[in-house]
């Protein structure tokens, strides 16, 4: 193969000339076809934008936690579209402001479980043998404790604040993450292109990062998206039990908890925060479903 043939300039630019759009663009094109997923994306982006704007526009001290007794328990009206709570605080503003808690807890919690569970799952899946057994058996142990109870345990031990909430919700879904990650790696690991890479002399590390991880991204990404939704629900459940974000912060779960004692006559107080949670989580789940079909066309059929 030492014959040196002069390759003309034109063929040198071949890879640029036949530049195909990248896989990411391909995934986006599939994703766009899914109406539900696009709806989810738009709704979620609106929520994120409002929670960022709310940070600057709404003043925490005066408009969110200041008690205006004469304005107490007003039904939804033009002045207060979502009505006011038992301290006269405007519920709409609190919901808009409160969106940051749910989103931040949801995302950070999932990052926690992705970091711990995902990495453990990938290692278990790729290493196999005793390491896999140790990791998976310990996951079985954690998984046997119902997620909510585990979160409750951690919160009672360390006290209820936003950081602990994030950690406990994150830790509670580590086993599920580990299992998905391991399954994804296992399906990839037995393919012949992994053997081909080994035959080409690739080190284990190189195989992990150039072949295994890119091919596991799809199921792990989908799992991450879906987990953000369930993390938000778990977080709001804990706040509802008084174990999440401490009042007076307008976290949707604790707002529902406060509204509960007025459920008989002022049911609107429990309506809007609940709707906010459902819409946010539904949007995220729609995106998750859309992502799964877009990333892995085989699944669609």
């Amino acid at each position: 193969m030492d014959k040196t043939n002069v390759v003309t300039k034109s063929s040198v630019a071949a890879s640029r000339k036949y530049k195909k759009n990248s896989q990411l663009y391909e995934i986006w094109r599939n994703f766009r076809k899914n109406k539900g997923a696009v709806l989810g994306l738009t709704v979620l982006s609106i929520i994120i934008i409002t929670s960022i704007i709310a940070n600057f526009v709404i003043d925490y001290e005066t408009q969110i936690i200041r008690q205006v007794v004469p304005e107490r328990l007003q039904r939804p009206s033009w002045k207060h579209p979502f009505g006011t709570d038992q301290y006269g605080r405007d519920i709409l503003l609190r919901i808009l402001y409160g969106s940051r808690y749910s989103l931040s807890v949801g995302i950070v919690a999932v990052m926690v479980s992705l970091a711990i569970g995902g990495v453990m799952g990938v290692i278990a899946g790729y290493m196999g043998g005793i390491i896999e057994n140790i990791i998976m058996r310990s996951c079985d142990v954690f998984a046997s404790i119902p997620a909510l109870l585990l979160a409750i345990c951690i919160t009672t031990a360390f006290g209820a604040n936003t950081l602990i909430l994030m950690i406990s919700v994150g830790v509670a879904s580590v086993p599920a993450f580990a299992r998905v990650a391991r399954a994804a790696v296992m399906t990839v690991r037995d393919n012949e292109y992994i053997e081909a890479a080994r035959a080409a002399g690739a080190t284990r590390m190189r195989i992990m990062f150039t072949h295994i991880l890119p091919n596991c991204m799809a199921p792990i990404m989908v799992q991450t998206t879906m987990r953000v939704g369930s993390a938000i629900i778990t977080a709001s459940s804990l706040s509802f039990l008084g174990l999440g974000v401490p009042p007076p912060a307008p976290e949707w779960g604790s707002m529902l908890s406060e509204g509960r004692s007025f459920i008989r006559d002022y049911s609107y107080m429990t309506m809007f925060p609940g709707l906010a949670i459902v819409i946010t989580v539904l949007a995220i789940n729609l995106i998750g479903d859309g992502l799964r079909d877009a990333m892995d066309p085989k699944l669609k059929r």
């Binding site: 193969m1 043939n5 071949a14 292109y193 002399g201 690739a202």
Partner: protein, 318 residues
């Protein structure tokens, strides 16, 4: 006598299973001359693929010696083995699972070159890939396509180009054409033949298809339940099969030629997986010529005619 590039001595590969020790490859011996092709043929479960992978140490053999160019590959350290991989490559059967679906043709073919750091400059690397694509008959415009956009034949060509990328001396072809249609099969077989001539490649060609192995190989080893039962040149083996299994195998192949219609030898029973095999001829249970001596010990491979080895105490007259 040309130099033996590959020499395999008493290669064994056992797998521990819940039912006992699966003796997938049980003492296999053969040599392959440089620039020649050894065909390894046998039915599923006979250990031919395991042998191919064990030689390349894609799976660690239980025991034995594998001399490549005079060095025992099984004694190599990790780094020596990785360096030796440049000389020994493999082509797989399933065009759909042997290519990374997330990589383009360019990335797949160039990976071995990058691993061994043969070409640093990006433009030279691209030229090398284009050159390889041209050698295996892939159109230049496919450089950035993904495997799922191509048919089986072209995907197999990518696999061949990847194996050629590091200028190997020896390639294990593990059923390279079994998953392809007849017309595409012929194209790939011709390509492999042409490349052997051009780059003086040595092949170990593994297949279950007797007519393909007969056409493609210079020497053929017939395997049954982890052992080589017969080994000879391609003409010799098909003209004068000495082992009852080889004879039955040859007669079982349906021939697309009406004048060749001949009496069929139909073997009774089915292949069983070689777990805790007793010390007897493994084919005895299904062999119509079997005698008591056959069940007393495991026959060794011995040279009955020049270059024609058989592992049977009562070989057929041929």
């Amino acid at each position: 006598m040309a130099k033996n590039l590959i020499e395999v001595k008493d290669l064994k590969k056992y797998f521990k299973t819940s039912h006992g020790m699966l003796q997938a490859v049980d003492g296999v011996n053969f040599t392959i001359e440089e620039g020649k092709t050894l065909g390894v043929v046998g039915e599923s479960g006979c250990g031919k693929s395991t042998t191919g992978r064990a030689i390349l140490r894609l799976i660690e053999p239980t025991s034995g010696e594998v001399y490549f160019d005079g060095h025992d590959v099984l004694k190599f350290s990790e780094s020596e083995l990785r360096k030796a991989r440049k000389e020994m490559q493999i082509i797989f059967q399933d065009p759909y699972s042997s290519l990374d679906p997330r990589k383009t043709v360019m990335q797949i073919i160039s990976e071995p070159i990058k691993i061994h750091r043969l070409i640093k400059n990006k433009i030279d690397l691209e030229n090398r890939v284009l050159e390889l694509m041209e050698t295996v008959g892939l159109a230049e415009r496919l450089i950035n396509t993904y495997p799922h956009e191509l048919d089986g034949g072209r995907r197999q060509r990518i696999g061949v180009a990847r194996a050629l990328a590091v200028n190997p001396k020896f390639i294990v072809c593990d059923e390279p054409v079994s998953a392809l249609d007849v017309s595409i099969q012929a194209q790939i077989l011709n390509l492999l033949k042409e490349l052997q001539g051009k780059f003086n490649l040595t092949y170990m060609f593994i297949t279950h298809d007797l007519s393909v192995v007969h056409h493609f190989s210079d020497y053929i080893a017939v395997m049954y339940l982890g052992k080589i039962v017969e080994k000879a040149s391609a003409e010799e083996l098909f003209k004068r099969p000495l082992h009852p299994y080889t004879q039955a195998l040859l007669s079982a192949v349906p021939i697309p030629d009406l004048s060749e219609r001949k009496e069929r030898i139909i073997l009774k029973g089915e292949v069983v997986s070689p777990i805790n095999m007793p010390d007897e001829c493994r084919f005895a249970k299904r062999c119509s010529y079997a005698r008591d001596e056959c069940r007393s010990h495991t026959p060794e491979l011995r040279e009955v005619y020049p270059g024609h080895f058989v592992a049977c105490d009562f070989p057929l007259k041929g």
